[in-house]
């Protein structure tokens, strides 16, 4: 059929992600039928039964577009990222996790050992008296089974493969996905490396009343019901609008929730988290440490708050283990002596 030859070949993949990006694709609603008319899907693990070997059998560069969501957490995800990069003409980092590490990258505060100890040991819901931990090799009567290696750190997609476009968001909103689909179908692609989102800060689209950024207390969203008309920062609620890319349609703000930063830094922000820390901390009213410290202690968990989606895209990336390792060594020495 000559017509089917003209159809785009599309691959969708999920790595370290929650599945929300998959749902976002379905959120195109009836337009998904248009996508199905325009494209043949060659891999979509969440919805269709294609195998990795089917993708391996394709010629290099024969897939037109790959929408890759999720961060790189284990060796399988790395392998498939490399495979899909080889097979695809256009690689799109789809969603905050692929673009910036997203929520999974918050685990970069811990290494594999401490994550396993927590997840398979000390969580209240865990019963694991044999202390069974995931292994990469498992001998069975039928032969040795191999499982992917769980990495010490979470990586964003462009750490491991060349990425052509970025669609941020947790998840990306349907209108941006559609913009991307139309650009791909029409061949009117933006310059390589472009982020398909707004160029300005989210505050530009926020319709809330903004007066003076001075606060005497910081509050978390579960502690107050915010005034829906007023700037959330001015109500002492950390909102990442000043440093985060526009383009999401102010979805969270419309729901009276602050921006968490899932669209990543504006093009001008040197560092997403540090820039927001700066913006938030300087709102505290006071001139001496005695007045300021109690106010600023209201910002609990600065790393988790300011780098919620962008830790794998930050300057420091992973926790420096020197502090912990040093302490452990000391304990070890003491135990030995």
């Amino acid at each position: 059929m000559p017509e089917s030859k003209k159809k785009l070949k599309l691959a969708l993949y999920w790595a370290a992600s929650c599945g929300g990006c998959e749902v976002a694709v379905l959120d195109l609603d009836e337009k998904i039928l248009t996508v199905a008319e325009l494209a043949d899907i060659v891999l979509w693990p969440v919805a269709l039964d294609f195998k990795y070997k089917d993708v391996e059998a394709l010629a290099d560069g024969s897939v037109d577009v790959c929408l890759f969501n999720g961060a790189i957490r284990n060796s399988e995800q790395l392998e498939i990222a490399e495979l899909l990069r080889r097979k695809s003409k256009v690689m799109v980092a789809f969603g905050a996790c692929a673009c910036y590490g997203g929520i999974p990258a918050l685990a970069n505060q811990f290494d594999r050992e401490s994550i396993f100890a927590r997840v398979y040991g000390t969580t209240p819901s865990t019963v694991n008296p044999g202390r069974v931990l995931p292994q990469t090799k498992l001998p069975t009567p039928q032969g040795e089974l191999h499982l992917p290696t769980f990495y010490n750190a979470v990586y964003k997609l462009d750490d491991v493969v060349d990425v052509d476009y970025y669609i941020p968001g947790c998840p990306p909103p349907p209108d941006l996905i559609w913009t991307a689909v139309e650009a791909i179908v029409s061949g009117k692609l933006p310059p390589k490396g472009a982020t398909i989102a707004g160029e300005r800060a989210l505050c530009h689209s926020c319709l809330r009343k903004k007066e003076e950024k001075k606060v005497t207390a910081f509050r978390r969203v579960h502690e107050v019901i915010p005034d829906p008309e007023k700037c959330l920062l001015e109500q002492g609620i950390i909102c990442s609008g000043p440093v985060t890319r526009d383009g999401c349609g102010t979805r969270c703000l419309n729901a009276n929730m602050p921006c968490r930063g899932c669209f990543g830094p504006t093009p001008e922000a040197l560092e997403h988290g540090a820039s927001m820390l700066s913006a938030a901390a300087t709102m505290a009213e006071g001139k001496d440490e005695a007045t300021l410290a109690p106010i600023l202690d209201g910002i609990v968990d600065p790393l988790g708050t300011f780098y919620r989606f962008t830790l794998a895209d930050s300057l420091l990336r992973i926790r420096n283990k020197a502090l912990v390792a040093g302490a452990e060594e000391k304990e070890g020495e003491e135990a030995a002596s």
Partner: protein, 169 residues
């Protein structure tokens, strides 16, 4: 110049490592203070490199992280004493950031002592020299911080692509 260098590396089998500290000083007070220390021939360690900015209030925490990222073992930010800011309130902003930033650094596993904020006036050359010597000693005791690239390499042994990414596009 060479007489100001505290003998460390190589000589007499001492440690070859010397701490690198980036000092970011405001034009009006701290930089002038450091200048005075120089004019007064006060000794301070050569491992301290000073960057001049117009106001300590301009020092985004991102600058400090960038210094650590580029291999600094410590960062010293200097501003005017409270009430003396040339731009009235710049140094208060610096203080506010510091109170949150210290906690962020600890979450990143970076010792609090590697980052220091000091008020140094144009007349306090001696204070500058004292703070510089103290800080270098403290960081010597902590040892090198090591680079982010090395930390990433050690984590999983992956060869990562050059930095850049969505943020910079």
């Amino acid at each position: 110049m060479t007489e100001n260098v505290t003998a460390k590396g190589g000589q007499g089998g001492g440690p070859a490592w010397e701490p690198k500290v980036v000092a970011i000083f405001c034009n009006w007070c701290s930089y002038t203070g450091a200048d005075l220390a120089g004019i007064s021939r006060l000794k301070y360690p050569a491992g301290l490199r000073i960057v001049r900015v117009m106001c300590s209030g301009r020092v985004s925490p991102a600058f400090v992280l960038k210094a650590f990222h580029e291999g600094a073992d410590g960062v010293l930010v200097g501003g005017c004493h409270p009430g003396d800011c040339h731009y009235l309130e710049g140094n208060y902003k610096t203080l506010k950031r510091k109170l949150v930033f210290e906690r962020l650094l600890e979450q990143f596993g970076i010792e609090k002592t590697r980052f220091r904020l000091e008020w140094i006036s144009g007349g306090e050359g001696d204070k500058f020299a004292r703070v510089a010597n103290e800080l270098i000693k403290e960081i010597e005791a902590l040892g090198p911080l090591g680079s982010v690239a090395e930390r990433l390499r050690q984590a999983d042994g992956l060869s990562l692509r050059a930095e850049g990414g969505a943020g910079s596009a």
